[in-house]
């Protein structure tokens, strides 16, 4: 409210109005006057005064009736009732009908009138300010809701895309049985995994995590599957063996992502498995926790630190080889597993993964032991990839 609102005097007695006006103008108020109820209501509609001083006894329209209409038409405008026949019954009735205050006539002192008006003005100013703030907040809130709804739509689309690109829950390639689970968090993130036959001799698998959250990170996972698809095609169509060699493959992906100038890095563990022998060659671009391998119920962590894709640094990618014996298993988990509740130290959680892999029969067992079920609320996505080689028959 930039300018102080006027005050409206409604009284049929010219002398009283004149006296009130002098007192109030001296106190700094801008004063409007009406001699009849109807005229007062009209002025009120036109000027939206801060306070109305209303005489209760007037010809034509009675003061109480004017009061009722004022209160219903302008609920935020305080009405101070003035009565020359100052009885308690008048006062009570006026207050019951919504008057803000009551002043007796003749005035015991000018200060009493001034004080009552000042308090009424302050109340009306606060009410108006409140309404203005509320309007501003509501407008801002509406804008935010609309933006949020749009983001949610984006996220849903991205999440859907992410899930559509996942491999089937259970896949068999030769003697290898692959399983996977993706437990999404509230916040869309960039966890992703895939497994596939590379040719008649080899299978490949990876687990990736795109830095950051939101639709952008999820879309980078989509770009990633396209890039990986390119290398798989190159092997089948042109005999380009890059994808059979984890180090070359990671260097290729790194260059591809850098060329796209996406400001997000990606951690990725990639392994190639020879179907006949179970021999594994792997490379790691900063994926953590490290995978666990279990042969004969003995688990080991395949420690393989290395630089993430699309991130500067002088470190090489992690590298290693291992053997998946008949009946052996491999477990990959995204870093969301380190945030699970109850919160454990990373070391304790990694040891738990190793122990679980040694004893569990299936990925369902492992998920349940980690407290992961379909609707478990999570602070970060958890992706799990489980591979088991058939026992020798």
């Amino acid at each position: 409210m930039s300018e102080a609102a006027p005050l409206l005097l409604v009284d049929d007695d010219d002398a009283v109005r004149g006296a009130f006006r002098r007192v109030l103008e001296r106190a700094g108020f801008k004063v409007l006057e009406a001699a009849r109820g109807e005229a007062g209501l009209a002025l009120c509609r036109e000027h939206d005064p801060g306070v109305v001083l209303l005489d209760l006894r007037m010809p034509e329209m009675d003061g109480l009736e004017v009061l009722t209409r004022l209160v219903s038409e302008h609920p935020e405008t305080p009405v101070i009732v003035v009565s020359g026949h100052g009885t308690m019954i008048d006062a009570v009735e006026a207050l019951r009908r919504g008057a803000w205050d009551f002043v007796a006539k003749p005035l015991p002192s000018n200060e009493i009138l001034e004080h009552a008006v000042r308090r009424g003005m302050e109340r009306s100013r606060l009410l108006r300010q409140n309404r203005e703030y509320r309007a501003i907040l509501e407008a801002a809130n509406q804008k935010l809701s609309a933006a949020l709804a749009e983001l949610r739509t984006d996220e849903r689309a991205a999440r859907q895309l992410q899930f559509q690109l996942l491999p089937s829950d259970e896949l068999r390639i030769g003697a290898l049985a692959f399983q996977r689970r993706l437990f999404p968090s509230q916040l869309l993130s960039g966890d992703f995994l895939d497994y596939f036959a590379l040719n008649e001799r080899y299978a490949g698998l990876y687990l990736a995590d795109v830095a950051g959250h939101g639709a952008a990170s999820a879309f980078v996972t989509a770009i990633l599957t396209t890039l990986v698809g390119k290398y798989r095609q190159a092997l089948l169509l042109r005999g380009d063996e890059t994808i059979l060699h984890p180090q070359q493959f990671l260097r290729g992906l790194d260059a591809d992502l850098k060329a796209l100038a996406i400001p997000k890095h990606v951690t990725l563990f990639y392994a190639v498995i020879e179907l006949e022998s179970g021999h594994i060659v792997y490379g790691n671009a900063g994926a953590f926790p490290f995978p666990h391998l279990s042969n004969d119920a003995k688990s080991e962590e395949l420690e393989c630190p290395g630089r993430p894709l699309n991130l500067p640094g002088s470190a090489a990618f992690g590298a290693g080889e291992a053997n998946l014996e008949p009946g052996g298993r491999l477990l990959l988990a995204s870093d969301g597993v380190l945030e699970l509740t109850p919160k454990l130290s990373h070391r304790a959680r990694r040891e738990q993964l190793g122990t679980l892999l040694g004893s569990a029969r299936s990925l369902t067992d492992i998920s349940a032991s980690l407290g992961l079920f379909e609707h478990t609320p999570l602070s970060d996505d958890v992706a799990l990839l489980f591979l088991q080689r058939e026992e020798k028959s």
């Binding site: 830095a211 950051g212 994926a287 953590f288 630089r307 002088s314 470190a315 990373h346």
Partner: protein, 166 residues
């Protein structure tokens, strides 16, 4: 989990950033702008990331550190220093190969004044690292004596903005 924040102070061109609590992606955009502003200023002779009071850092913030390190190295500074005392954070740093692009110094060794912990490839680089750790130690001493305040990075940004608007 404590909501994270980051503070900053500088001494002879060595900029020290102290990370507190759980530093996640919500802090990253502000931190990125801040790092860009001090790096493009051209006055950075070294960066020290003091993570000894941090509970966790998410991948977005780790990426930010790696990129900032690359930029100051391109501009001729030595590898940035990371001071860390949290086993979980150490593990994550190692898994991403940060121990090879940064000088990762355990907080205890740093407090003992044992600069021998720093191993750098060239003598001049080792000297630079020692200077950085000494600058960090000097700032910490001043701060503990109440003679210097590490400023919240957000406040630095706001001040810079008001200066550039004026």
């Amino acid at each position: 989990m404590t909501l994270g924040h980051v503070t900053h102070a500088a001494h002879n061109g060595v900029h020290v950033l102290r990370y507190f609590g759980s530093v996640n992606y919500t802090l990253a955009p502000g931190l990125q702008r801040f790092l860009e502003s001090i790096i493009h200023d051209g006055s950075v002779s070294g960066l020290v990331f003091d993570l000894s009071a941090a509970e966790s850092l998410d991948s977005t913030n780790l990426g930010l550190m790696a990129r900032a390190n690359e930029e100051v190295r391109d501009a001729g500074a030595a590898n940035s220093v990371i001071i860390s005392s949290n086993e979980d954070i150490d593990g994550v740093l190692r898994s991403m190969g940060f121990d090879q692009s940064f000088e990762v110094v355990p907080a205890r060794a740093e407090q003992d004044g044992n600069s021998e912990q720093v191993e750098a490839e060239a003598p001049s680089a080792a000297e630079l690292q020692r200077t950085m750790i000494e600058a960090h130690r000097a700032l910490m001493r001043l701060s503990e004596a109440g003679r210097l305040e590490f400023e919240p990075v957000v406040a630095c940004l706001e001040r810079d903005l008001s200066v550039s608007r004026a």
